[in-house]
Symmetry: C2
Subunit: 475 residues, 2 copies
Amino acid sequence: MKKGIKKRNPTPRKYGKKKQILPKVQEQILGLGPKIINSILIGLRENDKPHVRKIVEGLDEYDLAKLIEVLDVDERKKLIGFLEGHIDPGVFPELNDVVQEQVIETLNENQIVNIVNELDSDEAVEILEHMDDDEQKSIINRLDPELKYQVKSSLHYPEDSAGRIMSRDFVHMPENWTVKEAKKFLLTDENLPDEFYTVFLTDENMHPTGELTLDKLLRAKAGESLSAIMDGEIVPVSAYTDQEEVAHMFREYGWMSAEVVDNKGRLVGVINIDDVVNIVHEEASEDIMHLSGAEEGDVYKSVKDIFKSRVPWLLTNLAATILASSVVREFQDIIAQISILAVLMPIVASMGGTTGNQTLAVVVRALATKELTSRNTIRMIFKEFMVGLLNGMLFAGLIALITRLLFPDYQQMCLIIAIAMVCNLCIASLAGILIPLTLNKFKVDPAVSSGVFLIALTDSGGYFIFLGLAKFLLF
Amino acid sequence: MKKGIKKRNPTPRKYGKKKQILPKVQEQILGLGPKIINSILIGLRENDKPHVRKIVEGLDEYDLAKLIEVLDVDERKKLIGFLEGHIDPGVFPELNDVVQEQVIETLNENQIVNIVNELDSDEAVEILEHMDDDEQKSIINRLDPELKYQVKSSLHYPEDSAGRIMSRDFVHMPENWTVKEAKKFLLTDENLPDEFYTVFLTDENMHPTGELTLDKLLRAKAGESLSAIMDGEIVPVSAYTDQEEVAHMFREYGWMSAEVVDNKGRLVGVINIDDVVNIVHEEASEDIMHLSGAEEGDVYKSVKDIFKSRVPWLLTNLAATILASSVVREFQDIIAQISILAVLMPIVASMGGTTGNQTLAVVVRALATKELTSRNTIRMIFKEFMVGLLNGMLFAGLIALITRLLFPDYQQMCLIIAIAMVCNLCIASLAGILIPLTLNKFKVDPAVSSGVFLIALTDSGGYFIFLGLAKFLLF
């Protein structure tokens, strides 16, 4: 689908004199009001296929996408069934990834081929890459020859690579053309993209040599050579580069677009900054979800799918907490004698977990955004340890005081919990940075599994130090 | 500073035949190698001002920004002191926010005025908005008249609003011009931005009526009216709109740029998609940090500042965990009699916390990205409760089995922990969605404080149900 199809103005916005902070855009801007949604819902419930189809036909691709997203899993399935494959292909790029997959699953091969044939290659790849190999192969073989070639070569690159997300629909010219030749080409060529901002220049081997934004072209003299006015300071991106890395380079260097090259340095595609917005959004969402053991798109999933996706994380947490419990078990006898140990021990463990999680969030994010370099890692470890130590001392003092007030009969308890607090907060800070750094070194996503290691350590450690000290000092 | 200054090619990238997944771009691309950094560090240590300044003069603005970021807080201060205000103004927009503030703090008013005078208004606003009122006023009064006016009107809009981040440096024309007139203007006008992609069209009252990308202009006939070929389906954004909302609209509607209007609907600025990349990045980082009680930019802060920023969250967590402890305290007597209660109780609490956090991450993110609408909120609450119930039953079975194996003498303990597990996981799931929804309703950022309420509830709840049941059934 062409760029810019999303630009629309369903109901004109009023400016108003009041401050417009966080208006309810979604429901305000859309042509898709609650009335239409309700009407569809009634139609679905009453199996009134003609009614539903009639309403859907009145919606543009953007509204239909929103409608599909807003429905529940079963309603969604039913609606797609009613449409019998008569879905505007432009709907698919607008859908949330999870929803897109759900819709595609309900279509048969013929319907999918018809839809994919109408899409740009990067949009087609997005749909095809989630399918299993046999289905994917069979559909690709039935695509139009040009799209088939493009999709095949994109899928040849690894998942989440520049080669997968790049657009193959861009304007390129030989660098030795003149401005006049370029303008003539733009006026007469019929295969230009619907919207473009930059012309990409290449040498005779299709190696990118520079780029020219249209404002420069508009303002240049007719006889000038493109190579003389182009911006030649480009940094082509290998098609194998990970998309997170690509997004990082866009942010870091303020790019508006980037040339993607194959193994031989030939220009094969272009990534534009609007694709990068989505990548930044997705990767950040992924980090947030992974840190808590949840998954993206749960809003659109069925109870069964959400349930299944959350079990593994809970299982690892169960293991971590059983490990911590086994530490407590070793001290069962002293707890039986001084039961306030059981009252106080969760405080040490919990403060450790919280401290470690603060560090963890900072480090995981800094790793993702490449703010942790070889130069500042050692320093960061030292700083985090110092912060842990300072907080340890502060909260050791506080908890000693509180313990003294709550349990005036056990004077030594203040000392025990204070020492345990300092130690556990230092351990937690160090763990909060060393665990993600280690996982990162071994190419494991630090956002996914750091948390459970951390909690295993701060809980077990907290119990062990606190109860161990108590045993040592009180018995 | 002009758009596109960041585009550079320090050392040309080799394509190589191997897969280039996550190459070390930062150190590879930069002209700023470890040698230069070391040389600077030695110069700083030996107080060799001329040496340091000579190296810095050889760096372009981008490398200097990176150098400043990579230094430690004290080194940074020293370096800026050595430069005595001779810093390329173009460095400032390149700096991380936290670092930018640190650097500005070390400069005197004269130096700041000289620097800000060289910046675009949006960049100037970014520097000025963090200052205290007196200092800000005094600097603004000394700015060049045009910039002064622009900065003042931008600062009039609330923090993080469209009015603050918009650029005032854009190309606009009356919609009734012809293509020929437009092209002539673009060829002859000397105040055009250094790079632009779109021409914004207005009526006689400066109300935006449409936009025209340069490719359309290039390909249009000379005599045509701009209003005939423009894209008139624009949705102007109020200058009071929150930046998160703006970013959402860009992502949602696939915009490349947006018109910003004042109270009277007049075009006062433009937001481009490259600004949006930064907003999406920042807002997501903020959510990640807030969920864990940390802050953005800790990588660049001193131990003292990090320490201070983390104390409030640890304090609230201390309160939550003391609350939970006080629940345990009520059951001290039965723990003294059956100490395995102390062994098992953390398992119930911890599994509740983990379950709740999964839901919390999904809900906080869905609220931020506006995926939770009035239509699907009730359904989502139901779904999360069902997921909690299912997981509760699954893990109740598991933990009952494990308890049976570990403590075969206490048959009733399996039943007690199983019931407590189901209840606590249901409570946790509900809390994970209801807490952020409630905070959001009261305009409190759900990312900031949901976590501590959740933990207070799942810990206290877990202990209460487990120990309460034990007391009821065993005594």
